[in-house]
Amino acid sequence: MRLKPFFLLVAVWIGAALAACLPSPQPNRPSGYLIIALESNPTHLDPRYATDANSVRIAGLIFNSLTRTDEHSRFRPDLAERWEAIDDLTYLFHLKKGITFHNGKPLTAADIKFTYESVLDPNNRSPRRGPLQLLKAVDLIGPYQILFRLSAPYAPFLENSTLGIVPAGTPGAAQENSLIGSGPFSLEEFSPGEKVVLKANSSYWEGSPGVSGLVFKIIPDAIARSLEFKKGTVDFIQNDIEPDMLPWLKKNTDAFIITHQGTIFQYIGVNLDHPILKVREVRQAIAYAIDREAIIRHLLKGLAAPATGLLSPSHWAYEPSVPRFPYDPEEAKRLLDRAGFPDPDGDGPLPRFKLSYKTTTLDLRRRIAEAFKEQLARVGIELEVRTYEWGTFYGDIQKGNFHLYSLSWVGITDPDIYFTLFHSRSTPPSGNNRGRYRNPEVDQLLEEGRKSLNLEERKRIYGGVQKILALDLPTIPLWWQKNVVVMKRNIAGFVPYPDGDLTSLKNVSFAPSPPSS
């Protein structure tokens, strides 16, 4: 029976597979915890290193900052009781008293000084250092007073006051499973790629959260996320829902679904060094040729609103009276004719000119690209769609190796974002003016906007910037993505934020009676 060893091997193989599963029994759902599904892994929960959206949102629940933004991107007190700009180079913050970290240690100005200096230390390689480059010194005035000195006037400085505060002495790039904050939740477990578990801080200075804790489960597949919700093993999903899955969820679950205007801005980037694309009429023609409403209706299932520019209507600096380019292929053709790009054979197959369009390999992005190709072909522009994996795509965009591409901006707070996107000094690697836009008038306005501390004046300045950009179209606005929240009906107290912030999870509780749709 020489076959025995082979079958024995097969049996050992199967046995090993079964045995491999035994040491890790299925974890039970922790009682009173809210389970949230995320598409991607938060990479760093230390606020000094958190840059991706999920990391920033979860870190915001573990850590407090001097200020936090409200739903209109205005700064509101958090650890700071109040603050004052002594002059355009000096900001004084007065801290609230009696706030403690999760380990019971009082939070004082020394912790704030440490956190900012830790970010500024180049050895710590913090990605938050860039925006703090104008911060010259952080001085302790007392245990609850701290002074920030800048090297040059910089109105958006307050944006940096949303940095989460860590206890003094926390090493840079510390083991993130032992992070200590002062927020409504403390970190219980961080298993990269799998889950983040937060435990309610019962002695939180604003009051104990309404749930025992939060579990952020990383579920990369869109179908699996929806099925987990259907099965009841996920309670809450925000935005990580494919538009195609929403009708299924509505039909097959009793989910409470909220859709509301978000701030994520999708646009087409344009290379202004390209001989055809540098002509403004061509860019305007492309803007007229794109049927945003149809794409939103059919591909995005209504989960977006046509955009006029970077800042959404919920932002304090939003300017509504800007030039708009609704779908009008005939006007697009007229503009192209006038710009000197006539259609060589009328309705025939020859295009006026050819352009390439770069996007990522994500299925939805590819489908949107195909829609653009079809719509631009109607006005005589041939579009060659090129899809790349993220690293290659982003590398090409930064180098200026593109004609057209599409990306989105997430987490816009201060309108000074326009400086890094459109100032002539902000071309990569010094900024994100990837299209190489140069306009002295815009440059001047952006420099003024940086210096002025007067909100009304800044509103006027950035209103002017928005009007010029809407006409010049260095980037072609597409849409603002709507936020979608899918949650169990017994969840009460969640307030959606336009930027997808999860701050209000501290007020969430499991209600005995479900809310009505």
Binding site: L3, Q26, P131, G193, P220, G391, G395
Partner: protein
């Protein structure tokens, strides 16, 4: 045999070095900058340049390559540029999950393929043969990204027997291993059937029958054993491919394996992590190939490893 084993083990080094070298240059040559990912879009060009210098990314690629080899020779795979922790730690967390899934999928495939393949050959042209053919075609035609969700809907949502996704106990392993194992089983069924049918007409089979052995004994002891070589080759190749990461299945079932880790590392241009993953994947392939070769001898003693 010992001499053969030693010879094969000595071949490990140049093969590994070759694959690592290829990947090293490819990942460095394709566009993308890890420093952009690490420091974010708002970092100054001076900071980015300083970090490039610190990581040695400003050095000529040959110098970087030599540094990498020196560190590797000292057993140092370095630190991930993007994830927390050392490359070795990250791989040690993920690789057992991949091994667990691969072993289970292989178990599923063998358990399905052997009975069905043998039945199909023994009862050639019967309804059993036709059924196994249909099963095999279905298995080959169903892509993982379709079969996975289908199994989830059936067993997790409708029947409620199993969890939808994630890694935990045995229950979590069943659906992903079925998804992966089905395709492999489909290939093996056809392979076992055709190998058996080829062997069954050999003279020694007629001899075995003439000796009065029972038909099942003839099939299982004489025919199957001699048909195993081609089956072992396919099993070995498939096993290696699964260890290299079943990215789609790992993604669908939220399985924290090395496939997903490798893809994330490539996307973020996390050079040390990519190298570490490729090292593990290449080594797995080599080990599985070696085991496959040794199994040949076990299945058929006529296979010799001598000169």
């Amino acid at each position: 045999m010992k001499r053969y084993l030693l010879h094969r083990l000595l071949l490990f080094l140049p093969t590994l070095l070759g694959s690592l070298t290829l990947v090293f240059f490819l990942i460095h040559l394709i566009p993308g900058d890890p420093v952009e990912v690490m420091l974010g879009e708002t970092a100054s060009s001076a900071d980015k340049e300083a970090l490039r210098r610190e990581l040695g990314l400003n050095l000529p690629i040959w110098t970087q390559y030599l540094r990498f080899l020196t560190a590797l020779a000292q057993g140092d795979l370095g630190h991930s540029l993007y994830e927390q922790g050392g490359v070795t730690e990250l791989i040690l967390i993920r690789f057992p999950a991949t091994l667990e899934l691969t072993l289970a999928a292989m178990g599923v495939a063998l358990c399905i393929a052997f009975p069905l393949g043998i039945m199909a050959a023994v009862k050639k042209n019967s309804w059993m043969d036709q059924s196994s053919l249909i099963f095999s075609l279905l298995g080959l035609a169903m892509p993982n990204f379709w079969l996975g969700p289908l199994l989830m809907i059936a067993f997790s949502i409708e029947l409620g027997w199993l969890p939808v996704s994630g890694r935990g106990g045995l229950a979590h392993l069943i659906l992903p291993s079925l998804t992966l194992g089905m395709v492999m089983a489909a290939i093996l069924i056809r392979m076992i059937r055709s190998s058996l049918l080829e062997t069954i007409h050999e003279d020694y089979i007629q001899t075995a029958r003439a000796k009065g052995l029972s038909e099942w004994r003839v099939w299982l002891k004489h025919a199957l054993r001699n048909s195993l070589l081609s089956v072992i080759t396919i099993v070995g190749l498939q096993f290696g491919a699964l260890l290299a990461g079943s990215i789609i299945t790992e993604t669908i079932f939220t399985w924290p394996g090395i496939g997903r880790l490798t893809i994330q590392a490539i996307q973020t241009r996390d050079y040390p992590l990519v190298q570490g993953c490729i090292l593990v994947i290449s080594t797995s392939y080599l080990v599985v190939n070696l085991l496959t070769d040794l199994l040949y001898h076990l299945a058929d003693p006529r296979v010799s490893y001598g000169r």
